[in-house]
Symmetry: C2
Subunit: 520 residues, 2 copies
Amino acid sequence: QDFKCNSKSIYLRYFCISFHYVWPLPQIVIPSPERYQLKPQSFSFGYRRNLDTKHSCSVLDAAFKRYFSILFPGYTYGDENEVFTLTISLDRHDCQGYPNQDSSERYKLSVFAGQASLNAETVWGSLRGLETFSQLVYQDDFGSYYVNKTEIEDYPQFNYRGILLDTSRHYLPVQAILKTLDAMAYSKFNVFHWHLVDDPSFPYQSQKFPDLSNKGAFHPVTHIYTQSDVRRVISYARMRGIRVLPEFDSPGHTKSWGKGQSELLTPCYRGDTPSGTFGPVNPTLPSTYQFMASLLKEVASVFPDPYIHLGGDEVDFSCWRSNPYIRAFMHKMGFGLDFSKLEAFYIEKIVNITSVLRKTSIVWQDVFDYHERRKFLSVVEVWKQGCYLCEVRRVVKAGLRVILASPWYLDQPGPTHNWARYYNVWPLAFKGTEKQKSLVIGGEVCLWGEYVDATNLSPRLWPRASAAAERLWSNERQTSCVERAFPRLQEFRCKLLRRGIQAEPLYVGHCKHEYQSGIF
Amino acid sequence: QDFKCNSKSIYLRYFCISFHYVWPLPQIVIPSPERYQLKPQSFSFGYRRNLDTKHSCSVLDAAFKRYFSILFPGYTYGDENEVFTLTISLDRHDCQGYPNQDSSERYKLSVFAGQASLNAETVWGSLRGLETFSQLVYQDDFGSYYVNKTEIEDYPQFNYRGILLDTSRHYLPVQAILKTLDAMAYSKFNVFHWHLVDDPSFPYQSQKFPDLSNKGAFHPVTHIYTQSDVRRVISYARMRGIRVLPEFDSPGHTKSWGKGQSELLTPCYRGDTPSGTFGPVNPTLPSTYQFMASLLKEVASVFPDPYIHLGGDEVDFSCWRSNPYIRAFMHKMGFGLDFSKLEAFYIEKIVNITSVLRKTSIVWQDVFDYHERRKFLSVVEVWKQGCYLCEVRRVVKAGLRVILASPWYLDQPGPTHNWARYYNVWPLAFKGTEKQKSLVIGGEVCLWGEYVDATNLSPRLWPRASAAAERLWSNERQTSCVERAFPRLQEFRCKLLRRGIQAEPLYVGHCKHEYQSGIF
């Protein structure tokens, strides 16, 4: 990279006037040393009186209350004596819907004496602007609140900015998920990729197949997500402009499915007899596809997002190879000994089922790697280590869209200063046309669950995930310098503590308000 | 090590009768399949009516309440209808004192139908026995409580089993320290080594030198330990049989001291003029020793433990070398260019001051390494990586006592399965006489503060520190097998969760009661 710390830039101006930082960095900021005092008693949010927003908006009404208590902890929102008003206007009145891959998150924020105006194309953009505004407000040593005259124009670099939580290897209480959604909104993440089920447990309580969690969850009552839990998560996420992307990974990673759905998994053989263990989903039986169609139909109706993640990673062929019926099917289909052809056969059918349900499928890069007819696919998530940009390039050259996860496997513990590793990632630093680069729709932080549960989720995720958040939101030319990002990230981490997020320290030092709650 | 997992041992018996595990493993356990139901409403603790315990004991009265709510969460202790009584007898009625290096922690616990008896030489031993009893009680699937007929004779392998917390690199709220003391008692740790002050901050509020924290703490009001905070920590620890060992590390690691105590630190020079920066404590001025004597006199009276940790590690000579007055002093003393002689000169004076205060000093291994007149020293803490047992051997050959810390630097993050590394430590595996080995008084887990504060302290410490706890308490021949320890440690980790300790997971799986509190 040639745009490094020594480049002259807009930053110098910020440092000179002790600008109060916003994380992730907005695209265009015009700061000013002029500051205005804010009084909790006389601060209010309001709608611009125009035709489009004549009705109030439930998403924003809730956001007003939330941000008021973030701005002024300990005060209650009551809009009397309005002396300072933040007025919101929306180009489109889309309060009833869900955010999606194409939602504009663009906003314009202007702070003047006695007022601020926030304009956005969509309600989701206005949520991003509210977050930015909340980070502009600061307290002096005597506790008075201030905000500086500021103009900001902002939009994300990438539309897909996700965090994956794995609720199969360890069960995460719903509260832990909601808390993560809070923290995601603070870093402007917009996709919660819910890796719901996997080998160890199946905590999703299906309407059609209740035995999947009855028999496949760690516990059929205390370690499951009911339909009402799932609705709660989706609604909580929506209120913060966050999509919920469900993943039902198959044909591998499905051991727990087999407990509640007999004949779904492949019986492994030792010699001529079944060994009693089971392998991946059995791709040779029509009943498999009937079951998958039925399950995915339910998933498609429970989760409003137009995308479903179908997994498809790390399929172990040894069990398929051991099974004489599978081998016979291979022979009949003319697959020879190439089990990846069988795998492709299965995934194509599942992708088809998903298309019929009018959902777009996302798969892990494995599917792209072995699949010969790649046009079948839509979005590929690149996760393997090594030259991940080589893989990104291969996928976009095939005309498919990419989500990049490889550099952001945050379940790996490490000293917090590793945040710089997650910051120094350049998703577009490969040779390709503009059109190819536009196929990189974003990136994702993966917090796999082998060593993570509610006890360590927050400090492992925050503030390291925020480093990825800035990479995915901000202009990379303005955010290429780790040294300059460090004090900003330190300040942001203190803001997270102040908001009750258990974000671990970056290095020696302190925050005005240390983490207190949750100790007892 | 030749005593590995394949050795036949007492364990097989445990597995056969589904013994409910105790961590750390007691020295002698005679389990039985016979079990008795316990009812919260009719369970009580009592004193054996004999001459020695005719007065009640405040330490035990508090422990009874604590362990009742650990045994039966949600119930309140009221001793009506005693159907099952745990009766305690003490050989010595030492309830008013403090635990110390020579306190016996030996206890004998017998559980029979309708009663249990716990005999100990000291009140501290009886606390260890109560902890063991609390781990023997379990619930069936319907919530009923049970305890099996059991006989246990137990005592620690090492008398010093410590945890170091660093409150200088990050400030830890008092509540976080108290919570750690709770968890320490669950793993039978008995020393809280309080690394109070260091370069970054001086949070100890001195009575005689209030400017040390006024100017040297991160914040003079919110980021300090008042005298009352310190008393609270000492008393809370005592109630759990835990000593508090204060460390005031000098002459290095003292940058923060210089802010509130002028002329204490050495002015560094650039050429012929002071550079404006400061180095280690200035060992050439009489005022230094007056100050240190006065400070240590206060420390000796505030902290009841007969030991004080004087630090003495990692002294950087470059500043001393730059200072012409220091060089002149070196010349006058005949030290030549050997600054370690100057260092030894300083430490000897500080050790002397400590002896006059009737306290025994502990130093980091650096002091032993450079000090020629080693008989001056008493206890050496070995912390450097590499062949730490070589160093242990050198220290005991010099006739000094050793605390081993090198293998237990838990501030290093790593996957939780690293617990095995902390478990597979053999402090006595060096060539030496029995008498030399007896000089190894124990070991210590160090949780340095560069990357640790209240947000991540608990999951970083637990359950990994518990691996060290078993090594320091239990018979190494019975606890040499990681594979056998794993399920026991998993069960113990679930107990920690149940008690509100944010202990991170060892691997994929679940606990009946997942961590809930502290999420919001």
